[in-house]
Symmetry: C2
């Protein structure tokens, strides 16, 4: 474990460490969210020979999102609630070096919207950062598992919870908040890595001073956002229970010193109850890492009517659009559009559907950045207590939290997607702290004429085009991994780990792991051998029926019915499976 | 699935089916409890190349005992409480054909002495028989999982539970009862396979009419047992709460038409409270399959003072002792003696220690069959409230429920053993229905000077000698499998599946499965390929600390302290791992 050199930032270490392909030092692989490894011992030619090298049961059931970190000779494995962290000794047959199990009030579970998931721990400054379900951020000594400091980042009593992976940036640890289905007011918060003191907090909505925006200097598509944009796009005090939570992935560009992330749906899901654009829900933010001040923003889905949270990962890569190379940000939004933006300026370069079945909007107006909504699929237009049918995608979007991967070798983005449509009936709902503030009844199903509820696609972000697409029986709820071996890995809800050719999408290998995969595939090298690791454990929103034992088709915010057939393929689990080539 | 021919017995089918090595039709492999397969595709020469073929998470944590059945192209997998049964389609990538989950009162869990285990389902007459924790025996249609009939075999409110695997014999299903730590009165019960009507019930103690003994015809070591032997070896009415439960394994000899099994400890664990031999606790029974009448009995540990339940499996094999070939019964008792008996007559042929550290008795008197107890280790002699130290083996015996295997090819018995000693302090306890009726405080540790808490041994039952012995860090709590490939398989509490040479004990293969193994290794063939299957999921008595989250060293009836280090190697799980050779 590399210590922190005096005067340097933890993130300087991480920038170095993430170049060492033997390790996997942050949940996203690197600050740019590539989920790419330069390791190529396992490659398109031999991946078919992959074997299970070892396995580890976490001792917890339900949805296992995220994946392990590998720092030096230690692997850190986390679990869903109760959020156990294990440190495994790769040098001693993966013996348990230490185990940390926080004490959390189980009353937190019912205020978690979409299973008891956790997307992983972060590393920096010799510490492991765990963001608990009860919104406590805790710093553990990476060597011993002892608590260094701990801070509360929210209150589960009012529906505030934690599911996202923290990110270490410079001398800070950045965390979001969950609870858009409970009227939680979203924010990103940075804590001092040394002692957990709050450094800055940036809300998604509210007065400029709360949302850390400068009416003149903060821009959207090149234009200043203007005064109190996070107030005057809401009726009355609705912004106080306005959602726009920040439960997804964060990226960081050390050169620009900007943090990128997206905000979630405005609360409630009943659009008639909250007129206005509801800024800055559904928005990509570029914020200064030191101060939290927003440099630019882009709201993808103004006045959301479908729960298309904008929190999916921002992948930072060089992309050439119309002959011009950009420091770009590529983002596959829940709303079904794949966006390419200039990440310095926030300019919108590409916005194209990454599932041809997307029907709620015809296209994105490249001038205003606004999607052109189709009345037929507008739940606001159709009104309260009207069941709008056949909207594609469903509320869980063409993609949800499952992160994509980017290969600088092929220049392609590999995107695990949902291929699901919905009926959506909004209804009036009153806010009560700590109670669901949803206001819509949903049901989900594959697009008409299709049987597959998912696709795994390769995407050209410069043109906004699907290069190849692999149908999957269920949504691909696992995160992808791309490698220099020209292999792309992903997991399926039935539990298969699959390896496909990065260029052609040809399936090269598959293995049935113990339970459905919603974890993110990881790779590392130890003693000269490359390993592929993935957590199994069905759950998340798509798997909530199995995870929480629900059977009413409309339960689980409408997901239970659509994914009912999953019960024919897998059962609850919680295991790490590690693969390698035979000796 | 072979149907039942008119007029024939289900067991006739099973006798035929168990000769088909492609299937694994009863938990014990065959009626003789061999756990042996004639399959030899996987053999001593190639087992080192074994790979994980597929895996399945059961969706349940805690101790997973037993193993799957394979009937035709269907695999039946059971779980600990809540005792789910899955039927997996081997022809369709192990898709779930059906799942049966009984509704059971969770109040049953606290009256299970040694984890929420279940040792497996039985098959016969086109049905799957599940013996639930709450002592309900249920018959499921093997094709659909629909309940055919269901019968209550006990009352958890008074501590009666079910953990053992039922056995189908002729037109009956035979089940035992657990609860020796709750003063339950042990019995074996046979139910009609067609409708679940009780056919006979044979208690372990009580009047002759209850224990199905003929004072003249039922013999012990060749002599009639005499009138009311199950009454007059107890003080007053103590036999009514006398234990002698029947929670282990059953064997059947179709030619002799005898069922063999053993009874457990007399209740309480405080020997001063129950003067007398306490017949027929701690006894091997040979009973007529049609009537339940006892042909012969042999009490191994009269007036138990150490909790040496006699329930371990009876392996039926031809064994030559002193030049004479016997239809023998070989039994590795908790008390540390390996017995060979003539199974027709009940004659005692061999009784030798199968762990040299056994010290509570010097030897077994071959005339009387009585162990010669060493005063120093006699908890009765030393008396109530005195801590008798250094007794070997500990209460969980030199072997517990983990079944041995027998290879007719090598003629050897392969025995997973415990290498553990104890301190034992009896105390006075009053009986209250449904409350623990234990009356002793225990602590456990390896024998002085040793670090290993287990050995895996090969045993010569004709001489009563260890042939080879492999030390293991923890007790080997998993059941063994021997094959015609001259390989013997077993699992370890850390989670390793190991394959060793049947002749030499040389380790040929090991793999770290997700969780500690207390399941029994199984083999089958499908589409021309041999598979090895084993359940992981740490627990049982040895793993109760992990399984139930206990940390007081004396908790878990004294097991928690001794096995505390297990937490450094594994965590709770519940997975099936299936192995095969590479293509
Ligand atoms: O609005 C929110 O605060 C919030 C939180 C979460 C979460 O923290 O898991 C999800 C969502 N929304 C959500 O909309 C959603 O689709 C979703 C899926 C998942 C998942 O882990 O499978 N979480 C969440
Ligand atoms: O006396 C009984 O009724 C009874 C029941 C059980 C059981 O049903 O699991 C065990 C025991 N005793 C027992 O003594 C024992 O060592 C034991 C170990 C285990 C196990 O599954 O690991 N069960 C039991």
């Amino acid at each position: 474990v590399v210590g922190l050199a005096a005067g340097a930032y933890a993130s300087d270490d991480l920038v170095t460490m993430q170049k060492n392909a033997k390790e996997w030092v942050m949940p996203t692989g690197n600050y740019a969210n590539w989920r790419y490894s330069t390791l190529d011992q396992i490659n398109a030619g031999n991946v078919g020979k992959l074997q299970v090298a070892w396995t580890f049961s976490t001792g917890v059931l339900r949805g296992h999102e995220g994946g392990p970190l590998i720092i030096g000779n230690v692997m850190y494995v986390h679990t869903p609630f109760p959020n156990i962290v294990y440190a495994l000794d790769l040098n001693d047959d993966n013996k348990i070096l230490w185990k940390y199990e926080p004490k959390q009030d189980p009353d937190t579970i019912p205020v978690m919207c979409c299973d008891t998931v956790n997307r992983g721990v972060a590393y920096g400054d010799g510490k492991i950062f765990l963001y608990q379900a009860d919104a406590t951020l805790v710093a553990l000594d990476a060597k011993t598992g002892k608590v260094d400091w701990s801070v509360s980042n929210g209150d589960p009593k009012i529906g505030e919870t934690g599911t996202s992976a923290p990110m270490v940036v410079k001398d800070k640890v950045v965390v979001g908040i969950s609870g858009g289905e409970f009227g939680v007011r979203g924010r990103l918060t940075a804590y001092d890595i040394k002692d957990g003191k709050m450094a800055w907090r940036a809300y998604s909505m509210g007065p400029d001073s709360d949302i850390l925006m400068d009416p003149e200097k903060t821009t959207m598509l090149g234009k200043p956002v203007g005064k109190d944009s996070g107030l005057n796009t809401w009726e009355g005090d609705q912004w106080k229970i306005g959602g726009g939570t920040t439960w997804g992935w964060y990226s960081y560009d050390p050169e620009l010193n900007l943090i990128y992330y997206g905000s979630g749906n405005p609360s409630t899901w009943n659009p008639s109850q909250r007129p206005g654009d509801n800024r800055w829900s559904m928005t990509i933010f570029a914020r200064d890492a030191d101060t939290g001040m927003a440099k630019w923003v882009y709201q993808m889905t103004p006045h959301d009517e479908w729960d298309y949270d904008g929190i999916n990962e921002m992948v930072l890569a060089d992309v050439t659009v119309d002959g011009k190379k950009h420091k770009a940000l590529v983002h596959f939004d829940r709303n079904g559009f794949g966006y390419t933006l200039d990440r310095e300026t926030g300019a919108l370069l590409v916005a194209q559907k990454y599932d041809p079945k997307v029907n709620w909007a015809t296209h994105v107006d490249m001038k205003t950045g606004r999607p052109q909504v189709v009345d037929k699929y507008s739940t606001d237009h159709n009104g309260e207590d009207v069941n709008t049918k056949g909207i594609c995608p469903a509320a869980l979007g063409t993609k949800d939290q499952q992160p994509s991967a980017y290969s600088p070798k092929t220049g392609l983005f590999y995107v695990p997607t949902n291929h699901v449509c919905m009926d959506y009936e909004p209804f009036r709902v009153a806010y009560t702290a700590g109670q669901p503030y949803v206001g819509a009844t949903l049901s989900m199903y594959p697009p008409e004429g299709d049987k597959n509820m998912g696709n795994f696609i390769a995407w050209d972000a410069s043109k906004g085009k699907i290069v190849w697409s692999l149908p999957e029986r269920f949504s691909v709820w696992s995160g992808a991994l791309a490698t220099a071996g020209d292999v792309v890995f992903y997991g399926t809800l039935e539990g298969y780990l699959k390896a496909v050719d990065a260029k052609t999408g040809k399936e090269l290998y598959k293995f049935k792991t113990p339970s459905g995969i919603i974890g993110n595939v990881t790779t590392y090298e130890h003693n000269g051998k490359q390993y592929i690791a993935v957590l199994s454990g069905v759950g998340g929103w798509a798997g909530i029926g199995l995870a929480a034992g629900l059977t009413d088709p409309n339960a689980g915010l409408g997901a239970v019915g659509g994914y009912a057939a999953l019960a024919n393929y897998t059962a609850l689990g919680g295991q790490l499976t590690v693969f390698s080539l035979p000796n």
